[in-house]
Subunit: 152 residues, 4 copies
């Protein structure tokens, strides 16, 4: 039961509804806004693994984006729900790269594929080594909140 | 000559070009974005009077918006240039209210009228009295940069 | 059972998580972004009452914002979850006014109160009378999706 | 005289002031917003060459972004003025790639390097060949507005 639930969560992408705020006068999601979606998706990825960016900040670890990229396959439109799958594509001593696939929920058509590489820095902006607990968390399966786990 | 130049500057509104980023799928400027334009316009208003928000911050004066309002008269559209007139509508012991009129540049049609009231706070978010130099600056005529004043 | 569920839904506010994209260098949610939250909240309000803005658009009814207003009581911060309660404050022949109260979820402290008045227009931007089905839907209790209603 | 003026314009990058709206709670320009700056810069690039995206749209040529990329070198900060140099890096039968270098104006330090590849489509989203006048314009030196050209 618990395993079934977990594996379901591993593959469960984030869902994002498209509002007016996201679109432009071309009638589609403005191209920069997918990078906002990537941020939301990697935050959820981390939180479901027990990682809080806010907590890290307080312990002096600040993540900054060093590279971002997006390939636009089709247009996201007003009222659609988009599903974003997120994976850790690469981890180095000081960086982690998240990769994302955005699909329209109903049709499953691919909308955007992209990635963002983040570096860990201290409060002065100096790059620092990722500590082990972070790397372990990044590689772990998602930890569902207690609310979602039925007692056995 | 100098007077003529100054009075021209007093009335010279900020010009803002409308890009895709500003619009929504209704084909017009998204309603929240006028509050971004207001911020740009009041920043320019202050800077042409020798006031720098960044400087104030370093001296411990932080301005926070306590109220904002916009009346939408007509739609701003992609490619248009908007002109924003800014005035100080009210100054109290701890707040200043900026009022704005946004017009389409070519036709002069009114697009939006609005206002934002800002309160001065310290670094802990506690409201503090506006100091005299700020009030004086707010009430002054714009101070053109040297680059714009021809030597007599 | 069903009644209990419905009344729960009537009062259930929309939850919005605050991301980096929402904040500014003051460390708090940027003041214009609450108008984006209002849009999300009124969209949800309408959808839970069986109203789709996209459907109306196809039938030639376009809603435009004619007035928006926000009072800022406290700062929304990164990582917080905000809860937005939405009500219809007023309905006239051609306009509907939504009112919103935004609270921080854990502490229940009030963050922002605001409103947006929308007018119904046709494709040429001409104001038109709200039709009866819209008014009825606006005044109705939310219609939960089938997925949320347990079979009796 | 005229040549001098032209060459000055060729190399004149777009200047963008950083406002609160552009920053995030990390105290720096939010990473997605550089893609907004790219849009402003390529629009200016085109307009100074006599190309209007709005005009093309009316003639049935719509440009959509098919790829975008940004390398973040240093942080852009509130109150800074950024300068964006724009070049056409590549032109194919149906696409044009703009490349951008963003520098902080005073220090000349590199902030971001990036690019966006746009494809020409018709109103149905079908890719179409770039017509010759567009390609010629893209490759041309900027055409200063009459206001800027002193009569010989």
């Amino acid at each position: 039961m618990r395993n079934g639930l977990l594996s379901q969560l591993v593959s469960s992408p984030m869902e994002i509804k498209v509002y007016y705020e996201d679109t432009d006068c071309g009638g589609v999601v403005y191209y920069a806004n997918y990078l906002k979606y990537f941020e939301r998706a990697r935050t959820q990825y981390l939180e479901t693994r027990g990682c809080s960016i806010a907590d890290w900040m307080q312990r002096g670890v600040i993540f900054v984006v060093v590279h971002a990229e997006a390939h636009y396959y089709s247009a996201g439109r007003y009222g659609e729900t988009l599903r974003i799958e997120t994976d850790v594509a690469d981890v180095t001593r000081a960086t982690v790269t998240f990769s994302h696939v955005v699909r329209e929920k109903l049709s499953n058509r691919i909308v955007v594929k992209g990635s963002a590489r983040l570096a860990a820095t201290d409060h002065h902006g100096k790059v620092r080594r990722l500590d082990k607990t972070i790397v372990t968390a990044l590689r772990s399966v998602p930890r569902p909140s207690e609310a979602h786990i039925p007692e056995p």
